[in-house]
Amino acid sequence: MTEIPDVVDHLFRHAAGQMVSTLTRVFGPEHLSLAEEVVQEALISALQQWGLRGIPENPQGWLFQVARNRALDQLRRDASLRAKEPEIIAALHERADDPHPAFAHELRDDQLRMMLMCCHPAIPRESRVALTLKTVGGFSVDEIARAFLTKKETIAQRIVRAKRLIRDERIPIEMPSRVELPERVDSLLEVIYLMFNEGYSAHAGDDLVRSDLCAEAIRLGREIAMHPATDVPEAHALLALMLMQAARLPARIDAAGELSTLAEQDRALWDQAMIADGMRQLGESAEGERLTAYHVEAAIASCHAIAESFEDTDWDAIVAHYDLLTELKPTPVVALNRAVAAAMAEGPAAAMSAIEEIESHESLQNYLPLPATLGELCLRLGDRRRAAEYFTRALELPATMPEKKFLLRKLEACGR
């Protein structure tokens, strides 16, 4: 009995996203909300029945079957949908009885089409992320809001707006043409990258939801990298980046809830299988004629992932990668990260002067890593008074509890 929430939750996410994708293809994109309703009902009755009778042997098939029956009920009620009855039966019927769907590739196609629709360039960027998480990822509005530190209403609004655009702009759920595909894949990868970054950056909020975000971004990123229609080198580069960064997540917060820096992290907690997977993806990404930021960011992540100790990190290589990244992505945040790497390679004084050049940039004004980095550099340069000022400034910005504890620990170190 105690197993139910876990199992259902797991199935919720993936089976729900799968069923919504398939139903949306059959119903048509304008009926996306209807598809979601049908799946939601199937899940609710699963919860009720399984709570009483235990989990069936083939829960996914069970869910498909209930969803199919609900969908057929809907069709009978709606004259415009009645003609789709045979399609629904074909799409969900056989799967309902098959514990290992022979239709796996069709299901994957449905899911990819759904992602492409949710990430259509006509939809605003932040709505794309929310819509993808909700429909393909099976996240609730509440979870998305917690992950993005946004009000539930805001997320709900974004989703409504995206659905309206899909209807009004007649955005289809289909594979784009060869000509269109590269741009559409770019948008797809960007959404996955945003999703992952939200999970990884942990500004504040619910840690559990955040690691779920990373896991979901990796799952969808893998779907894209492995699907014959979208397996471009940069998809492998993005997957490599996510795997190697996520491999360290278990070590970033220690048992006491304190933030561990790279130097402090217990490398035994790094997921070596994920790192190996990530390295192989990096190998796959080194093809073709396009050098993207994903490639370079994955290469940087690989330097950390394969360093046997903090001390063995190849900082010179990391700085060289950041130089290349600066060409591709000339943002102050990239410059700040380059400066930190340079501090490790060349010493804090060089890093300090590099940061002074970008410090006043508008986009860095509420960026926690900036004062935290400056404080650390001052501390290393022996200027404890200035270091304390920077850590105090950092503490005024919104931060997670582990970040706050970390900064307080640093501030304390300035006093001694």
């Binding site: 960064q245 130097a263 490398r267 390295m279 190998g283 992540a301 394969i306 001390e311 509420n366 980095t373």
Partner: protein, 110 residues
């Protein structure tokens, strides 16, 4: 008091998941590829606004999943100790010793 640098070493580096040869081959492939392409002008400049970051109530466009500023800040663990022996003593009960080893170095004062 002097400062001591604590380097955490990991005993559980598991090369089985990726053999050194495989690792080498991947690194070599990547390096050859990137050297070949970097000079060709095929670099794709990122579109402005790729990365979303929360900024107050709105969303701005600058952050990324970079480790440096987020995970390196703090750098090594630097501790204060009276002597080398004292530094060793202070590390004795570190949970890291269960799976790894700790290296201690005295820091030069700049």
């Amino acid at each position: 008091m002097s400062q001591y640098l604590i380097v955490l070493r990991d005993a559980n580096w598991n090369p089985e998941s990726l053999s050194p040869e495989e690792l080498q081959a991947i690194m070599k492939k990547y390096r050859t590829w990137i050297d070949g392409i970097a000079g060709k002008g095929n670099k794709l400049r990122d579109k402005e606004g790729r990365v979303v970051r929360r900024n107050g109530s709105g969303v701005s466009v600058t952050d990324g999943p970079y480790s440096e500023a987020k995970e390196v800040i703090g750098g090594y663990i630097v501790i204060e100790a009276d002597s080398y022996e004292d530094a060793v003593k202070k590390c004795e009960d570190s949970p890291h010793l269960v799976n790894g080893s700790i290296e201690i170095r005295a820091l030069e004062v700049r």
